[in-house]
């Protein structure tokens, strides 16, 4: 069993000491969301690419599961977790500026982030906007199909409005494809393997905590 020790970072050092980065519930949410997104992408795009199968039932049921997961996540994040960990503040803008300057040749060193760095917060914001767009438009599109829970009512909106809803759903879905590819790239970068391990096993070492994070901005 992993030894989980919390407390002041400067009070404890050594490889065996670990800091919890993601609780089991957060990891479960992340991986369930990942499974849902992959199923939704497969059922959306494989038929378009010529691989034909009965995709609609799998797609809408998975979409409803994803919507439920997102509602749970929003409630947890707002009322049971520290939402400020994901808030983009002045220090994050400073971090973005210095990070960009470093990429383009400056010798400046970006400040250490708190629990999440500025790029992760921006990514989360982008994912939130795109996923909420695709889920909300998808929930409206459920009005066009009969299910065991409701009867279809395609006349709720005009044809033009339905067209706009379908455009939002399609554009957001294709954006998610790009987002998933970029997410995989950052996940598999050697520099961020410790974060991948944290998303699987939950912890980072004290050494990684001290190396990558500002203890004043993320008190672990």
């Amino acid at each position: 069993m992993n030894q989980i020790i919390s407390g002041e970072p400067q009070a404890a050092t050594g490889q065996t000491l670990r800091v919890i980065r993601h609780t089991a519930l957060d990891r479960l949410y992340h991986w369930l969301m990942a499974i849902c997104v992959l199923i939704l992408m497969a059922t959306a795009f494989l038929p378009i690419l010529g691989i034909k199968f009965e995709w609609l039932d799998i797609h809408w049921v998975t979409g409803v599961v994803l919507a439920a997961l997102i509602v749970i996540h929003i409630v947890r994040a707002l009322f049971f977790q520290d939402w400020r960990n994901m808030w983009i503040g002045r220090e994050d803008l400073h971090e973005i500026w210095r990070g960009l300057a470093r990429l383009f040749g400056s010798r400046t060193t970006p400040p250490k982030p708190g629990k999440y760095d500025a790029a992760q917060k921006l990514y989360h914001l982008g994912v939130a906007v795109v996923v909420l767009s695709v889920v909300c438009s998808g929930l409206l599109m459920l009005l066009k199909i009969d299910t065991p829970l409701w009867r279809r009512n395609p006349y709720l909106f005009s044809a033009d409005t339905w067209g706009v809803i379908y455009v939002i759903h399609g554009m957001a879905a294709m954006t998610i494809v790009a987002i998933v590819i970029i997410h995989l790239y950052f996940t598999l970068m050697p520099d961020s393997w410790y974060m991948l391990r944290a998303m699987v096993r939950g912890w980072i070492s004290r050494k990684e905590y001290a190396q990558h994070h500002d203890a004043a901005r993320w008190k672990a």
């Binding site: 990429l103 010798r107 759903h169 554009m171 294709m174 970029i182």
Partner: protein, 54 residues
């Protein structure tokens, strides 16, 4: 390249918007790959500069 899909209304007249064009999918994939390539190059250059200066 089309940005949107249209169908002709059964009542005739103008074309009806029915969704985003799936022709855009390769462009979204290409944009993601371009982002990765540019980031990887700039990141490698930044690391190289940091190693040289230390």
């Amino acid at each position: 390249m089309e940005f949107f899909r249209y169908s002709r209304s059964i009542y005739g007249g103008s074309n009806q918007l029915i969704g985003a064009s799936w022709d855009l999918l390769p462009w979204f994939v290409g944009a993601a790959i371009a982002f990765i390539v540019v980031h990887a190059l700039l990141n490698a250059l930044a690391k190289h500069r940091a190693q040289r200066s230390s």
